[in-house]
């Protein structure tokens, strides 16, 4: 294929400015790779989840209850639109694992031994299905098996209804119901301390007096049917049997968590690349404006030779598009690589049979279109200005820019500026827009770097507030069944236990109009010792004697505020229904909470001092004795140790955040380098004549470097506060985006975060300044002065 002369010129011109091309291309590439990384992960997760749900027949409606006879299952199965149903026995147990000091939790779920479940089928990774007549055979969740290095044939000791039994793992399984599985009361999944076990129906029912009954139901609906009506009917059917309220798939814990994650991926996948591409368009504009000014005589020649404006415009627009294309190629490759590395992180949280990473074609097309549009937009004004010049005028060099004393040059400042300082000042104020563009560009780099540090701070803040201010207990104990508060005395007698605070919480549906959520109402004692209501700033809030206090997010979901009424439909005991006034709203960080005065809660439940769990303070020296004792206590369904919970939280978050900060650091450096390097090259090409003249007049290299680098330093310093502001705004925007019902990050920008971001950018600016300075050292004085401009 023959390359036209104009395209040859394009290629050689770009090769000639390859440093700048690469610098801008890398900024573009950073944006593209973010876009590709986030959106490919989004698409990969979504596709994987969809096919998993489909293959394993994931349910549409889920309901738990106390106990119902099996005939009720037929009643539900006969409801209109119900296409498949599976009734189960589900119980939580304590696992007595030798390798752990503190008790681990297990969830036992019944499965038929002679067939596969019709809804929520399991994916059998290894081993075999359980066999009838062998009551101790179980399938274990893959996360648990992997975390403990177990194999089919290994045994797990579990306290089942007060009796220690050794369950034999015969197979390793995954379920669409537990892609995300978390122990109640924890922040992140901890596969070491929480496992799911699927066990023969008869064996499990026998242990819990559930023969001929069930306490859990999952069902599939005919395709395309909304679940609302079925849910209402199921709630009516199950109410006499202690129904805890049926929920649609949208509210199923695992599904809901993945959904939240996917939404975040999607909004990040758009927001961050957009910022990068905007910066790239900015510096492309500055770089091209200058490059085209240098091309004026060539533009004139082309016009004189008979090239039309459109052809010339297209030729120069191609400069930008080629740079964009370079960025696209590098960006897609980097994004695919990063994406495949990061999707591994999702395996820490989400368990899929296979989690395959692929870059969908639409993502490539989207990234390319967005980038080329940004490049063209960045180039447009520069190209238009250049092409518009009448041909005869282009033959003359561009008129010298009019310098004037800058408004900043007050007599006072003037006196303290040297010649170099004055030149820097005038140069910056001469092109205020260009200076502003550079300041904005570097500012964005500061902001991107800052975000990473802000989020580490946010997590520390969350830990601090949650574990040291709001919940000050060392251990949170969950009872198998609510029992008399006198159980506290038994707990207090355990070795190492220093103090006990009984806790009462009841399952309820909170409603306002048609908006509702299922959650636990927590009873707050008059003078809580361990667990307090605390807002994002760590301020404890006093529980009013009447009414309820809601998480702000819950109040928002229900669209209520202080003074409004909400309906509480308790799903335990006598199932009271009450309209209660909201007497407080707390801007907290985790989950959705409803708090009520403990006495009022007992009165509502028509009960005496009943506790559903307890909070313990330990003598740390005797922690392992305490945990050994708790493990074998039959009344204890689970015990969460702060130390262990914190450890697993930190491990997961650290892995996550370190990678994010590392990626941000690279991307921010790319931007900072790209912007500073380009600003320097543009100044150098504009002023090489002037600087060479100064050298001829006897200025030293150091002195002329000062003029050029002084300008860059001034721009960088000006960009720091701007960047801090952007960083704050961007962090606020991201905090807003990641707000979910699962968790809310507090917006907390520490001076440490700002300082690190500043240091990083100053470093990147220094490096690019030094690279340009090397060019100054090789400035050919004679040649520069000879060239006619």
């Amino acid at each position: 294929m023959r390359v036209s002369s104009l395209n040859r010129k394009l290629i050689r011109d770009l090769l000639n400015m390859k440093g700048q091309v690469l610098a801008i291309g890398m900024v573009v590439a950073a944006g593209v790779s973010m876009y590709v990384m986030y959106l490919s992960n989004f698409a990969s997760l979504q596709r994987t989840r969809a096919s998993y749900y489909n293959q394993q027949r994931f349910g549409d409606v889920f309901a738990s209850l106390k106990r119902a006879p099996l005939r009720v299952a037929d009643e539900i199965a006969n409801l209109p639109n119900v296409s498949a149903i599976e009734v189960r026995v589900v119980v939580n147990v304590t696992l007595d694992l030798e390798q752990l000091d503190e008790p681990a939790s297990g969830r036992l779920i019944s499965i038929p031994s002679d067939r596969r479940p019709r809804v929520n089928d399991l994916f059998l990774r290894r081993g075999r299905w359980i066999e009838p007549g062998r009551p101790d055979e179980v399938l274990a969740s893959e996360g648990f098996v992997v975390a403990h290095g177990l194999n089919p044939g290994d045994r797990v000791p579990a306290v089942i209804n007060g009796r220690l039994r050794r369950l034999t793992i015969v197979g390793v399984a995954l379920s669409p119901e537990f892609i995300y599985s978390i122990r109640p009361g924890e922040l992140v999944p901890d596969d070491k301390r929480f496992g799911i076990f699927w066990m023969d129906r008869q064996a499990l029912a026998a242990a819990y007096d559930m023969e001929g009954g069930f306490n859990d139901v999952v069902l599939a609906l005919s395709p395309g049917v909304a679940p609302d009506e079925t849910i209402a009917r199921i709630d009516r059917i199950l109410e006499p049997y202690g129904g805890l309220g049926a929920i649609p798939r949208a509210l199923q814990l695992s599904h809901w968590t993945i959904e939240n994650e996917l939404n975040q991926l999607q909004s990040f996948g758009f927001l961050l690349p957009l910022i990068f591409l905007m910066v790239a368009a900015f510096i492309l504009n500055v770089a091209l404006t200058r490059a085209l000014a240098l091309q004026r005589p060539q533009i004139a020649s082309l016009k004189a030779l008979g090239y039309a404006n459109l052809a010339i415009g297209w030729h120069y627009l191609k400069w930008a598009l080629v740079i964009g294309a370079i960025g696209i190629v590098i960006g897609i490759a980097a994004g695919a690589w990063l994406g495949s590395a990061i999707i591994g992180l999702y395996n820490e949280f989400f368990r899929f049979p296979v989690l395959l990473f692929s870059v969908p074609f639409e993502v490539i097309v989207g990234a390319s279109a967005l980038t080329l549009a940004a490049a063209a937009a960045g180039a447009f004004s520069a190209v238009r200005r250049a092409v518009r010049v009448p041909p005869a005028e282009a033959m003359r060099p561009e008129a010298p820019t009019r310098y004037r004393r800058s408004v900043l040059e007050t007599p006072f400042i003037s006196r303290h500026l040297g010649t170099a300082g004055r030149m820097v000042l005038r140069n910056v104020t001469r092109h205020p827009l260009r200076a502003a563009a550079s300041v904005f560009g570097i500012g964005f780099a500061v902001a991107i770097l800052m975000i990473g540090f802000v989020f580490t701070d946010a997590i520390e803040r969350l830990i601090e507030t949650q574990f040291w201010i709001a919940e000050r207990q060392d251990v949170t104990v969950q009872f198998v069944e609510p029992r008399s508060e006198s159980a506290r005395f038994a707990l207090a007698r355990l070795p190492g236990v220093v103090a006990v605070e009984p806790q009462r919480s009841v399952a309820a549906r909170v409603r306002s109009g048609h908006r509702e959520r299922y959650l636990a109402i927590t009873g707050v004692p008059l003078d809580p010792r361990f667990k307090r209501i605390v807002d994002q700033d760590g301020r404890a809030i006093r529980m009013p004697p009447s009414g309820v206090v809601l998480s702000k997010t819950l109040a928002d979901v229900l669209e209520v505020g202080v003074g409004s009424d909400v309906r509480l439909e308790v799903l335990e005991g006598t199932r009271p229904v009450r309209d209660v006034m909201v007497t407080g709203v707390v801007d907290d960080m985790l989950g959705l909470s409803v708090y009520m005065d403990k006495g009022a809660l007992h009165r509502m439940m028509r009960e005496d001092d009943v506790a559903s769990g307890a909070l313990l303070m330990l003598d740390t020296a005797q922690e392992s004795e305490a945990s050994h004792a708790l493990k074998v206590l039959p009344v204890v369904a689970g015990a969460a140790f702060r130390r262990a919970v914190l450890q697993s939280f930190r491990d997961t978050m650290a892995a996550n955040m370190n990678l994010t900060i590392f990626i941000n650091l690279i991307f921010a450096s790319v931007i900072a380098f790209g912007v500073v390097y380009n600003a320097a090259r543009v100044s150098l090409s504009e002023r090489s004549r002037e600087l060479a003249s100064l050298r001829v007049l006897g200025f030293t290299r150091a002195e002329i470097s000062l003029i050029l680098l002084g300008e860059l330093a001034a721009l960088t310093i000006a960009a720091l506060p701007v960047g801090a502001l952007f960083g704050y705004g961007l962090s606020a925007a991201i905090v807003q985006t990641v707000q979910s019902e699962v968790y809310r990050f507090p917006l907390y920008v520490s001076s440490r975060a700002v300082a690190w971001a500043f240091l990083g950018i100053i470093g990147a600016a220094l490096v690019s300044g030094l690279i340009v300075r090397r060019r100054l050292d090789t400035l050919d004085l004679v040649a520069v002065l000879k060239v006619r401009e």
Binding site: S4, S5, L6, R8, K9, R12, D13, N16, P297, Q298, A300, S301, L302, K303, A304, L305, G306, Y307, A308, N309, P390, P391, A392, M395, R788
Partner: protein, 235 residues
């Protein structure tokens, strides 16, 4: 009697430089004949370049009319002027204006790629005796060589008219003569009407017609019969 290539009537051009008005051309009337070697003489600021730019379709007059082979250039729009430059006019500038990133051959090809009946770039370079230097970039050529590449580039489209603005202005005598020889041979061999702007009166001795300008007006038009060869010029 040769046919008129350009017919120029009452041509006026006024530039506005800030608050001052500069009268570059004041009601110039002129005809330029086909096939001739024409020299425009005059001091700096006499309006020669403006005249050249206007008849070359690079600039538009403030008032007055220019006819090229009977059609009015001054009525042409931007696209028509571009087409006119592309098909009919070759330009040679004082500072060569070669594209630095393209070799000599590619600089010529820049033109041959967009014209209707171009000669091969190598043939154009042979006419200016540079066929051996085709692969060189402008920076690797001397000033005289660069100017000859510019001439080759200008004539490769086989234009009706070659417009040269101070083609030897940046060159020493001996190199200047080589460039003028190239121009003379193009005029003789291809019959291309050639208009050369200069303030060097010696060059007038090789012209068919010498037009003198001063202060935006034509002061004399001289038809010459005894043309000298460039080598015979006394500088």
């Amino acid at each position: 009697m040769p046919a008129a290539l350009f017919d120029i009537r009452e041509l006026t051009k006024i530039y506005r430089m800030g608050e001052v008005e500069v009268h570059a051309l004041r009601q110039v009337n002129l005809t330029l004949d086909e096939g001739q070697f024409i020299v425009l003489l005059g001091p700096s600021g006499s309006g020669k370049s403006t005249l050249l730019n206007i008849i070359g379709g690079l600039d538009v007059p403030t008032s007055g009319r220019v006819f090229y082979r009977g059609s009015e250039l001054t009525q042409a729009d931007e696209a028509e002027l571009t087409a006119y430059r592309r098909q009919h006019v070759g330009f040679v500038f004082q500072f060569y204006n070669l594209i630095p990133s393209l070799t000599a051959t590619e600089n010529v090809a820049l033109v041959t790629e967009i014209s209707d009946r171009p000669m091969a770039p190598d043939d154009a370079l042979r006419l200016v005796q540079l066929d051996q230097r085709g692969a060189h970039f402008p920076a690797q050529l001397s000033g005289g060589e660069q100017q000859r590449v510019a001439i080759a580039r200008a004539i490769a489209k086989q234009p009706a008219v070659l417009l040269c603005d101070e083609p030897t202005g940046a060159l020493d005598i001996s190199t200047g003569i080589i460039v003028l020889e190239a121009l003379a041979s193009v005029n003789a061999e291809l019959g291309t009407t050639t208009v050369v702007i200069t303030h060097n009166a010696a060059i007038a001795q090789m012209a068919d017609s010498v037009i003198r300008l001063a202060d935006g007006q034509v002061t004399s038009v001289e038809a010459r019969t005894a043309k000298l060869a460039p080598r015979e010029l006394s500088w």
